[in-house]
């Protein structure tokens, strides 16, 4: 038990750094191998696979050291499943929770975070949720500037460990899949059919197999860095690293203009969000004076982290007037606001809101939320494994992860904003997905939509539900992307669903693993199974989406004015089921629409199918048990303080957040409603695309206006083009003109004046200055030359001169000296 935190941190550090080592070796050494061997891929897989094993081992160590208390304790504590007396079960749990973390807290690396176990032990409040311990510490201090310390910290709780396992597992599967998918690149002469040289030929270039895996390793390293990061500055650094990795991978086919544009778009749109992120960062640092999440032990005296400062140990934001009091008094994870008369540090409430909105702005960019969602569909230009990685485990997950991590900093106003942003996003993206025909674009919009669900859940106070969906979504979305990659690979890089059909006969493994993913994301379950055998028979998506819808329903019942926050996700659940099944029916059933593609397509090799099967297993079963299952409890173990009890209506927004108990009460209703919506969507899709009783084309014609609007992605790209891109082009042209005409003119005229002055100066120098010097020199020389007459070299003459001179001097002396 001795310093479990530092032990875990070492495993995770290793798991985090292995991909970096892989990246370094591949980048530095990749060019020495030939372009046919797969060593780079094996190295990358070994690194990330070892990372997964280490993460799993960390998980095991964490579990055994805490006696799996997160699962056992939370089951009884949260008390959602067995609708037993919550207070009674809490009483049962409490000694356990108080006991174990106490041992952990006695070590140097375990610092209390808000809602630490001692806190739970101290406050004998049954409503208080009791999260598991978190471990924070410093790997390495980069620099100290006055009170600003930049360091590589870690912050480990159950969520961190879970994210590590999830990211490394999915990344490993994707790496293995990519060995098969990218095998085209194992050549010295790769022909890119989508890129053309200026004379109209296809681009021929050497294969970039090792480079792809190098970038993948860098991507994984960056993502794991975000997850492990113990301070917000470190998060920002790896945030940008994720951005640059995605830039490199989306623009992997650099010869294609569309890929370049997409990479630039992803990067620039993310910049917009990061601008807000930086503002939030500055506000927090200015007022809190620390970047660190967890409490820190600085030279013996403890300093509260960001979360402790804002929320304290009771999970409440304490305000005086318009200021938020930062909780800086206390020790050992127990922080309170200073008492009356003591000097206290405050943070204006509106600045806390702005900071929250700013940080959330960064999340909006990364997680492709409205209004910055446009980059993500374009990011499909990258190779499909990249799409799978970007859209499931890494980049977009980073945004949601950060929003969840920063939950204690978000005020209710910010949370409401998050909820509405998520709500808008999920609806817009789902509607666009309905009309998309590119198989990857459908999945891309579905990703945006699901991310909207997660953001919505976090905004509604369903912290654990959002992250629950993040994990399950990561599995089934990566599964579906890899399946689509398999289809694209089998169909020789054909992505249009309109040219597919009936592929399940040709590629059964892909088809049925995809079906698992589709069912999972649609949230289908067998009705009544819960009533019959005690738990619903359903895939992971049902459980997580169910949790979100339940949260939304509870929220709406508390705040009726925000009823859209429940209706929209409910409707969208149906739309989700519709477009996902549409995709599956389109691709795998019916008659082949393009005989040429059908006849040439084939099932993918084993190296690509194996990851599909593994991911399908996880997609189906990872959420086993729903809200009583281990996954949900593990997430709930990290839940910030005060989430479980809900929040009373108050603040400028006047919204209340539902407590766990309230959510649980409506759980049954929400599940039924959501299942109904999903079933409806499925049936409609079945009727339209599998057993066509209605021709989709006629619907398309009848609603051609709406269809066009959706095909044009709600005109967002056009809107941004008109609103931002073109104006900036115009401004750019103005600036260029200004530069050319005015600034260059000034510069040129200055230069011409300087030349003119120089010419005059030169003339002056040459004639007058040089002339004077030359005259002096010439006169001196001529005088000297004339005096050489006397320099005869004859000693007798010199004597004669002396004699004459002496006589002459005497003569002068006598002639002119006054007579005495």
């Amino acid at each position: 038990m001795d310093s479990l935190g530092s032990e875990l941190s070492k495993y995770l550090l290793l798991a985090w750094l292995l991909p970096l080592i892989g990246f370094a070796v591949e980048v530095l050494g990749g060019y020495w191998g030939n372009r046919q061997d797969k060593r780079a891929a094996y190295l990358a897989i070994a690194c990330i696979g070892a990372g997964f094993l280490l993460s799993s081992f960390t998980f095991y160590r964490w579990g055994t050291e805490t006696h799996w208390q997160a699962f056992a304790g939370s089951v009884s504590e949260s008390g959602h499943a067995s609708v037993a007396d919550p207070s009674g079960s809490d009483g049962h749990e409490k000694p356990d929770a108080a006991h174990h973390p106490h041992k952990a807290a006695g070590t140097e690396t375990t610092h209390g975070t808000p809602g630490h176990s001692e806190t739970a032990g101290a406050h004998d409040d049954a409503a208080h949720h009791s999260p598991g311990p978190s471990y924070s510490g410093t790997f390495y201090t980069l620099a100290t500037f006055g009170s600003l310390t930049l360091s590589i910290d870690y912050y480990i709780d159950s969520l961190t460990i879970l994210m590590f396992c999830m990211v490394t597992l999915i990344a490993t599967c994707i790496h293995i899949f990519a060995v098969g998918y990218m095998s085209d690149e194992l050549t010295d002469e790769y022909v890119d059919h989508s890129a053309h040289t200026s004379d109209g030929h296809h681009v021929h270039r050497p294969g970039r197999f090792h480079r792809f895996f190098a970038f993948l390793s860098l991507f994984c390293f960056s993502m794991l860095g975000i997850v492990l990061a113990g301070n917000i500055f470190q998060v920002f650094v790896f945030w940008e690293l994720v951005g640059i990795s995605s830039f490199l991978l989306i623009g992997f086919y650099t010869e294609r203009k569309s890929a370049n544009v997409a990479a630039n778009k992803a990067f620039i749109v993310n910049r917009v969000g990061d601008f807000g992120f930086i503002i939030g960062l500055m506000i927090l640092w200015t007022y809190c004076g620390t970047f660190s999440f967890g409490d820190q032990d600085l030279n013996g005296h403890e300093q509260p982290g960001l979360f402790s400062m804002i929320r304290g140990s009771d999970g409440e934001i304490t305000t005086v007037g318009d200021d938020v009091i930062l909780k800086t008094v206390g020790h050992n994870g127990h922080w309170e606001a200073p008492h009356e008369g003591e000097s206290n540090r405050t943070l204006p409430y509106f600045l806390l809101v702005i900071a929250g909105l700013g940080v959330f702005g960064g999340c909006v960019g990364k997680s492709a939320q409205f209004p910055l969602q446009t980059w993500l569909p374009d990011a499909m230009e990258g190779p499909t494994p990249v799409s799978a990685l970007v859209h499931s485990a890494t980049m977009v997950a980073a945004g949601v992860y950060l929003a969840a991590r920063f939950y204690p900093v978000f005020t209710t106003e910010v949370l409401l904003t998050i909820a509405y942003i998520g709500c808008i996003t999920l609806f817009i993206a789902a509607t666009i997905a309905v009309v998309a025909t590119d198989i990857k674009r459908v999945l891309a919009y579905s990703t945006i939509s699901q991310l909207g669900y997660m953001m919505l859940a976090i905004g509604l106070g369903g912290w654990a539900a959002g992250l629950f969906h993040l994990i399950t979504h990561a599995f089934f979305k990566s599964l579906m992307f890899l399946c689509s990659g398999s289809v694209i690979h089998g169909c020789h890089h054909e992505q249009e669903m309109t040219k597919m059909g009936g592929l399940r006969h040709k590629m059964p493994i892909t088809a049925y693993t995809m079906l698992i993913g589709v069912i999972a994301i649609s949230g289908l379950a067998i009705p009544g199974s819960a009533a019959l055998i005690g738990f619903p028979i359903a895939f992971s998506g049902f459980h997580s989406k169910d949790a979100i819808v339940a949260t939304a329903l509870a929220y709406t019942s508390l705040n009726p004015i925000h009823f859209l926050l429940f209706l929209t996700p409910l409707v969208t659940a149906g739309i989700t089921a519709f477009y996902m099944f549409r995709l599956w029916f389109y691709t795998f059933t019916g008659k082949p629409r393009d005989e040429h593609i059908y006849s040439h397509c084939h099932e993918s090799p084993a190296v690509m199918c194996m990851p599909l099967v593994v991911l399908a297993l996880f997609a189906a079963g990872c959420a086993f048990g729903g809200e009583n299952g281990p996954l949900y409890h593990m997430i709930g173990n990290s839940e910030p303080l005060g989430v479980a009890s809900g929040v009373e209506a108050g603040g400028a927004a006047g919204v209340a957040l539902p407590s766990h108990h309230a959510i649980h009460e409506v759980h049954g209703t929400a599940g039924v409603v959501a299942l109904l919506a999903a079933g409806l969507g499925t049936i409609v899709a079945f009727l339209l695309y599998c057993r066509p009783v209605v021709d989709p084309e006629s619907i398309k014609r009848q609603f051609s206006g709406v269809h066009g609007f959706l095909v044009e992605k709600w005109q967002f790209d056009n809107l941004y083009d008109v609103a931002f891109v073109r104006p900036s082009h115009i401004v750019g042209r103005w600036c260029a003109t200004f530069d050319k005409e005015v600034l260059d003119g000034i510069l040129h005229s200055t230069a011409r004046t300087a030349i003119w002055i120089g010419t005059i100066d030169r003339k002056f120098d040459e004639t007058i200055v040089d002339g004077l010097v030359n005259v002096v020199g010439n006169v001196t020389r001529s005088v000297g030359m004339s005096l050489t007459v006397f320099q005869t070299g004859r000693i007798r003459q010199y004597v004669m001169f002396i004699a004459i001179s002496v006589v002459a001097l005497f003569a002068l002396l006598f002639a002119f000296m006054p007579k005495a």
Binding site: T788, T792, R794, R796, M800
Partner: protein, 103 residues
């Protein structure tokens, strides 16, 4: 008080001096020029001794004349060495041939 007036002695010194100077200006022979120098020095010496005898200068005049004699001897030795070198280089003692330093 004295048998001979100081001015006569000075006159003899002046004659010696002038003879030395003329010797230096007219003799083309290097040795002749040296002799002129000796005459000039002797003229000066004579003056020193005369002043020593006739004025209250005292022994200092004689001391200085002794120094002059010694320096003249040294000068003669060096000058003769130079004359020998000159002769070795020019195969003559004619100083008018040694005009390499003319302007």
């Amino acid at each position: 008080m004295d048998a001979v007036s100081l001015n006569y002695v000075l006159a003899i010194g002046a004659v010696l001096f002038v003879c030395g100077v003329i010797c230096m200006t007219t003799k083309r022979n290097g040795i002749g020029i040296l002799m002129g120098v000796e005459l000039v020095l002797n003229g000066a010496n004579l003056n020193f001794v005369a002043f020593s005898r006739y004025t209250s200068l005292g022994l200092d005049g004689q001391v200085v004349s002794l120094f002059v004699i010694v320096l003249a001897a040294a000068e003669a030795a060096v000058a003769l060495a130079i004359a020998l070198n000159f002769y070795n280089n020019h195969l003559t003692i004619d100083v008018d041939r040694g005009d390499e330093l003319h302007g």
